[in-house]
Every structure is written in structure tokens, then in C-alpha cells.
Assembly symmetry: C2
DNA sequence: CGCGCGCTTGAAGTTTTTCAATTAGGGTGG
DNA sequence: CCACCCTAATTGAAAAACTTCAAGCGCGCG
């Protein structure tokens, strides 16, 4: 643990690189790098080949799909503790999406070839990456499902609540968030047109769930933002 | 190949159990079983623990999610050649969905413990299962995406076209399918209410894309059912 | 201070849902 | 083989939700 590169990480206990026999730890350490990204920086591009496996250590990433016609849409967010780029790694194909930082962020990186070497020595690592992939599948199915069972308003409320919980700060009598993305991205995430998103936000304000102004969102400091009744 | 249990399978070249060193082949063979299911038979139940990894060899499976309130909804179909039950296998958890046969079907089964033994000897097998998982993730994302970019009518047309291609038979001047599931299931698959589905089918008939009566669907024998222009 | 882009607002139109009532199909038993 | 029955499917009408297009506003940056 002492010399494990993830040893001091807040997500160490859930790390895919842990546990590892000592010989593999040194192999890992040699090829383990951290990278800081400013908001807007791109971690990997759509269509580029898989060069690494990344673990989000701090910040927030947008996973986007770029249409052939130049349109781009935000598919999902990657929060700290999540692995990204594993899909291309597991399939041995190029990235089908691009990942960019939405706020100052940090990723821990293990090169593709090095990762495969670690896995050769410790196949349990592959099993853990596969488990993350299955988690991703579950999430994706949940979203597909909630698209059909939960109203757009409630889904927006959940999304903003989650963002606020993760990145907001406590102010007097409320919890305050500076939105790390434009409205268009929020609209993509819940799957509606930007105009509809704007109206949904207004409704949530009218319902007293939150206050919004520009990029500032405030949840009244109930013990915790409720998941919107009805 | 001669004594590989998948050796005669139509999907052999893509089998997750192949290639395999000879010693692993014999380990696999000992614990490999085929199972025939009648339409309506359940392969595994939601909440049951993962006892095997299954490969659909013939027929069609419905992967359903049962709500706590007794409602059930069809999440996806599994066609021949697909692996099912891998999610629970990879996560080491119980099944979060149930799988049941929609028509007379056959699955090839490898017990959970045996599968892990094969993997221990041949980690490449795990990599192949993980790849299938990543494929599943891609599919799921495609559906999420197409939900927002393709009209419900076109998505229905694609679905029926795919079913007809896989399970239909050629009649004079058309390709004919007997639907292996009720309308409610079709509605679940494209994510609309059953009444809407009924109206979408009517529209497709009016457009001349297909003819439908009860469970019989006919696509006029254009070279192949096109994926709906427009 | 002004300009521009992103966001909001309004109004009209489309699509889907919902509820309720009717019809059709497929299987069963006479 | 036919009549019947039950469930599944269809249809209709009204309401809800969302989209689209167009115009106006305002925040933030230079």
C-alpha cells in the first residue's frame, strides 16, 4: 500500500489496480502517471486509438459523441472514482466517444500496453475492469428505463441534485452550485430540447425545489435536496 | 476443434470459448451442456444468483425487468449468437433481470464455477466476455441515442425488419413473420404506450411498408426490407 | 460601454399519453 | 366444426408534454 500509486487516493479501496502482488505494483508504478486538465481540455478524441485506461481522480468529465454532421451531444458524465476509456480498451478498438474536462480535473493514467502487462501478471485486474463495464451497462439501462418511467422534470431535479451534492458548496441556508456546463449539455443529458430544459428549470423554481440564475443553482438547505415528489 | 463443444456451432468462430488450449477444452467439455427451452420457459429469474453463463444457440430470448409493483417490461431481445447472463457473472451478483424464451430455443450453458476455472487457465476467455459486455454497452447507448434521433415509427420499422430477417420465411412476393411476442412487448422495446404502438403499425401499413394482421407481419418482397427511408 | 452568444419566452403545431369503449383473435369445450 | 369467452388489440377523443420557430432579453467578455 505504501508504494502503491493509488495508495493515497480517496478511491483506493475500490481501485481496479488493487489488490496487486508486490511485483505487479512495481510494474504499475513505473508506468503510472497523473494528469491535470483545465476545464475544456480534451482527454481523448473520438476515433483515436486507445492509448490508456483512465481513472477520474478529481473534477468532472463529459463523454460526448460527435455526429458526422458536426453535431455533438453529451452522452454522460464521469464523476471522480469512475474509470473512463475502458470500452475501447476492452474492445481493442478506437474510442467511439470523446472525453473532455468540464472543470479543472485530474486523471490517473496507465498506458494501454502497460495495463495489458499488469493484467497478464494479475488477471484479477481485468475482472475488475470488466465489472466496471458491467456497472456502466447497468447505468445505461437505468437511464433507458428511467426515460420511460420518470418525468423529465424529476430527472432534471435528480441530475442537478447529484451535481450539487458532488460539486456544490454550503452557503447560509442553501447549497450552491456553479454549473460546470451550458444549458445545452443539461438538455442533452435528460434528452430534451434546450427550450424545454429552460421551461423545466422554471417549473422547478416555481415548485420551490431550487433557485436558478445563470450558472448559479441553489437548493434550499433542506437536510438534503429531496428527489422531487410527484 | 473436433472435440470442442462449440465445434459444430454456427457461431463457433465468434465463440467466447474459443480459441482454447487443449487442456482447457477438455475441462470445458466436461461441464458444457445444451438446453432446449419451449416458448415461455424461463432461463433465469430476476434476483436469482448467477449459476451459469449462457450462449443463445437458437431461438430468441426476452430480457425482462420486473418492477417491485408486479409490472414487467421487456428491456431487450437476445438473438442467436449472443451471450446472456454475463452481467451477473462479471459482477458476481445475482441477476437483475429475467430471461425467458420467446420461441423454441436452445442455449449452451457453462456453469459459473466451471467458467471461472476455464478462465483461470485461460484468461483470454474473460477478455472475450468483457468484450461482449462492452458490445452490450454500445448497443445500449445506441438505443439511448436513437431514442432521440430516430422517430418511433422508424424504430418500429427497424425492429420488425430485423425480426423478420432473422425469423421470417419467404412466401410468394413477400417475407412473412409470425410475431413471437405480444404487442405490449413491442411497445416496451421501442418505448411507447401500447395504443401508440397500434397507431404506429397502422401508419406503417398506410405507408405501404408492411402488412399486419394479428401476429402475422408481411414485408413486401423488395430485395430486402429497407431500413425505412426518411 | 457595447456587442454577441446563450438563454428565455411566446405561440403554434406535432406527437404521445390517457382513459374509455369497442372490436378482433385464438383457444376451449360442447 | 362451430359457438363462445377472455384477453389482447384497436379506435376515438381529449389532454398533456414536447418540439419548433421566431423574437426578445441579459449576462459576461472584450
Amino acid at each position: 500500500m505504501s508504494d502503491h500509486p493509488c495508495g493515497n487516493c480517496r478511491f483506493y479501496t475500490d481501485s481496479i489496480w488493487q489488490p496487486l502482488p508486490a511485483c505487479s505494483v512495481s510494474l504499475l508504478s513505473k508506468n503510472f502517471t497523473r494528469r491535470e486538465l483545465a476545464a475544456g481540455d480534451t482527454l481523448y478524441h473520438q476515433g483515436s486509438e486507445c492509448r490508456s485506461v483512465y481513472c477520474v481522480s478529481r473534477g468532472l468529465f463529459a463523454i460526448r459523441s460527435l455526429g458526422p454532421d458536426g453535431t455533438s451531444s453529451l452522452l454522460r458524465l464521469a464523476y471522480p472514482g469512475e474509470i473512463i476509456g475502458y470500452r475501447a480498451f476492452l474492445k481493442g478498438s478506437e474510442h467511439s466517444t470523446e472525453a473532455s474536462a468540464l472543470m479543472p480535473s485530474r486523471v490517473c493514467t496507465v498506458g494501454e500496453r502497460d495495463a495489458r502487462n499488469v493484467i497478464r501478471a494479475s488477471p484479477a485486474v481485468l475482472a475488475r475492469i470488466a465489472k466496471r463495464c458491467a456497472d456502466g451497462l447497468d447505468q445505461c439501462r437505468d437511464r433507458l428505463r428511467s426515460r420511460e418511467t420518470v418525468s423529465n422534470k424529476d430527472r432534471l431535479s435528480e441530475l442537478l441534485g447529484r451535481l450539487t451534492e458532488a460539486f456544490g458548496e454550503d452557503a447560509e441556508d442553501c447549497r450552491r452550485l456553479r454549473l460546470p456546463m451550458p444549458r445545452q449539455d443539461l438538455a442533452d443529458l435528460i434528452g430534451v430540447a434546450p427550450e424545454t430544459l429552460s421551461r423545466l428549470v422554471s417549473q422547478l423554481e416555481r415548485d420551490g425545489v431550487l433557485r436558478a440564475s445563470g450558472r448559479r443553482i441553489e437548493f434550499p438547505a433542506a437536510p438534503r435536496p429531496k428527489v422531487a415528489r410527484r
